[in-house]
Symmetry: C2
Subunit: 438 residues, 2 copies
């Protein structure tokens, strides 16, 4: 927590920002305008509910309970003094200050009680949530949670570890070239105060904190390394000419409405980065590219229809999927499984081609139901007409916006031709599906 | 969904109950009164926020999006028609109508779109939440979610599966006798409408739903069996004389305030069952029982102090813990690990005795910090003064009350004597701790 001075406490605890509801007065092309309105609505829900308006002292005050420590004749640490108290595996989500996308946070908080009092456990979670529900950077969030708990509880020390996962949203070009590109960027950050101030390897408090977290995979070394990597957001700075300036102004207005200082150096490029990402899903001449690609490489296999007796089901499983939900402008990600009939002895269609189609339909504003149908309809004529497509995906709109259903996933299915009329064929394919961790 | 007739739809969708805030005008002994006030506060938060006051039509209306189905020249199911859409692994919690304790729910919802429209995915979660945030029985909850979705979306069919976990809160007597008594009661229930109406083995729609849930362990047979077990709540009916009638009236008032029909046959015994469970934590003569028990069986091992050179750490891991949070009157559960020095060659103290002490301090209103300290302080004189106690627990108050942090757990530690002054001894014990699934 090195850089944060003590006088920050009061600001942090009382930071009831004046949130004003300003209207966007900028003219954009209607489609983009509608999209930004949806986004503003989504973010606006947060403004009214949590985050910037919350006051940490209000949360903690009234939840500090007297709890006797050890009696004088005993040597040790327990109860209201000295024994560490940890709440681990708190699922949070936050929004990246650099690109506005939500990111997932696994949060672990520990503190060492003093002054013969303990804090209600749920308050550790609520305070962490206050700082998560803002535009954030992982290290800053860890520092803010740590400082706020230190100032409000006044314990012997506070330790915070955040494991953050940011979706790595590839550009269209990079996915076509390299479909296997990793989907996530992970950083682990920590912050400590009091007895946790010093994070060097020799600090027994940190060593015990790690042991009690059962994070054997996580060593102090790696945390230090993560901290030093600096900027973590995988979004790319756009070429300035690519983004119309009135759109940038519109997104800047959103940030101002949220109570953000738009001139803060971490945030100043955010509107452009967000729009760069958004515009990737508006590329209209890409359809033509795919058509050209298809006519050159794919040979429709009409002859297959005459050989039904010798057909077997070929499965192409776990094709990576990334897309963007058109209702909330938020990413969803997962896998697609494709099944089709293939004549015995024939070479199945290449995985690369199927992956390209998945990326093509993923790379626009979508709903998962439509995406699944489009993949099936595009591939069907090239595969003899009989096809089954199953998509499994996690939707970040199910994490944020007050729903907060961590770990949930959505499955959709499209069946054409024989897969629709023959339950046995469908069953045979569905039984071949792997267990998926999303 | 057999028993629910179509005319229930309107009632279910429009059920904006009149919730009045009535004051409890009953005189009880102050301690119990305070406890009931805390409970009312906790439940009251829910009344003002979600559950009884929510209207399913408000949630779904505006989230039905037109989505084209397959074109006329194609045979199959996809998009806005016929392809099943599933949202799986939604974590919910609900409150048992029989004993008022919260129970966990893993919810899986599927529907088959029709009329060329789909519903926003998060709405499936929100509708399920409306019916979870009431006093519930698993089968009734599944039927209500199913009926509400069928009536509001009007799809070809709806399928709902709920995996419910109810804490099995043992009585003091049963835990002392049998500390290994299983902590959870699990039931799986399902409900279907439209193409899912018939749950027999031959229904392809159910078969596919299961396959897409990847619930290979879950067969239709077992669901049918769970449904037929009837009453699932493990709370016990008390002997009438044991519960003061004014306390029963106080809890009945809480139910009325929530908008519940107190005369409904499932709820009529709830106040007595809840109080029976609460009173288990108020048994005051139990301390004496433990003291008598201890003086007979345990021999303080003072001689150990002279043999420090030949001592080794003995660990007793994973002692089951059940207790009740005094801030919210809600259960917490987990395991306790105890470490102490034992002279080489000496028989370690029996696991049964340690387990009895854990149960003794668990069987009252507690905070985890104090519980951990009390176990350490009670056992220390009998174990030569050097002891380390680590408690790991999940708190149901972290699930309910708006926090809803599923999967989080709390770790507390107490160290006495040598474990407090010797970091190496502490480290040796902490390294021996197993990975725990809570």
């Amino acid at each position: 927590m090195g850089g944060l001075a003590e006088h920050n406490c009061e600001v942090l605890l009382e930071n009831t920002l004046k949130v004003s509801c300003m209207k966007i007065g900028v003219e954009e092309e209607p489609e983009i305008q509608a999209a930004v309105r949806v986004l503003l609505g989504g973010l606006g829900e947060d403004v009214n509910r949590e985050g910037y308006k919350q006051n940490v002292n209000d949360i903690v005050e009234g939840a500090l309970f007297p709890e006797a420590g050890l009696e004088d004749d005993k040597v040790g640490e327990a109860g209201g003094t000295g024994g560490i108290v940890i709440v681990r595996d708190l699922n949070l989500y936050s929004s990246c200050e650099s690109c506005l996308l939500p990111f997932q946070v696994e949060c672990h908080v520990g503190y060492v009680p003093s002054r013969q009092r303990v804090v209600g456990l749920s308050k550790l979670s609520r305070v962490a949530d206050v700082f998560a529900k803002r535009l954030q950077d992982p290290q800053r969030m860890a520092d803010e949670i740590c400082l706020a708990l230190q100032c409000s509880i006044e314990p012997t020390g506070v330790a915070v570890i955040l494991e953050c996962l940011h979706i790595h949203f590839p550009t269209l070009e990079s996915t076509i070239v390299d479909p296997s590109q990793e989907g996530w960027k992970k950083v682990v950050v920590s912050s400590g105060s009091g007895v946790f101030e010093n994070k060097e390897a020799g600090n027994d408090m940190w060593t015990e904190f790690f042991r009690l977290l059962k994070m054997k995979r996580l060593v102090a070394d790696r945390i230090q390394k993560s901290i030093s990597t600096g900027h973590w957001c995988p979004s790319q700075a756009p070429s300035i000419s690519a983004i119309p300036s009135d759109m940038v102004s519109a997104v800047a207005t959103i940030l101002r409405t949220l109570g953000e200082d738009q001139l803060r150096k971490e945030v100043i490029g955010t509107p452009a980065r967000f729009l760069n990402w958004l515009i990737n899903f508006q590329t209209r001449d890409f359809k033509m590219k795919l058509d050209g690609f298809a006519s050159k490489i794919w040979e429709p296999r009409k002859s297959d229809g005459d050989m039904k007796g010798n057909m077997k089901i070929h499965s192409e499983l776990n094709l990576p999927l990334r897309s963007q939900c058109e209702h909330h402008l938020l990413p969803f990600y997962g896998v697609v499984h494709v099944g089709y009939f293939s004549a015995v002895g024939m070479t199945p269609i290449g995985k690369t081609i199927l992956q390209s189609v998945v990326h093509f339909y993923g790379s626009k504003l979508q709903v998962q139901e439509r995406l699944t149908k489009q993949i099936a309809e595009t591939m069907a004529p090239l595969l003899g007409g009989d096809i089954i497509v199953v998509a499994e995906a996690s939707h970040t709109c199910m994490l944020s916006r007050g729903v907060e259903k961590f770990g949930s996933s959505t499955v959709t299915i499209a069946v054409l031709g024989r897969f629709s009329t023959d339950p046995k064929a469908r069953a045979l394919f569905l039984e071949s599906l792997p267990f998926t961790e999303l």
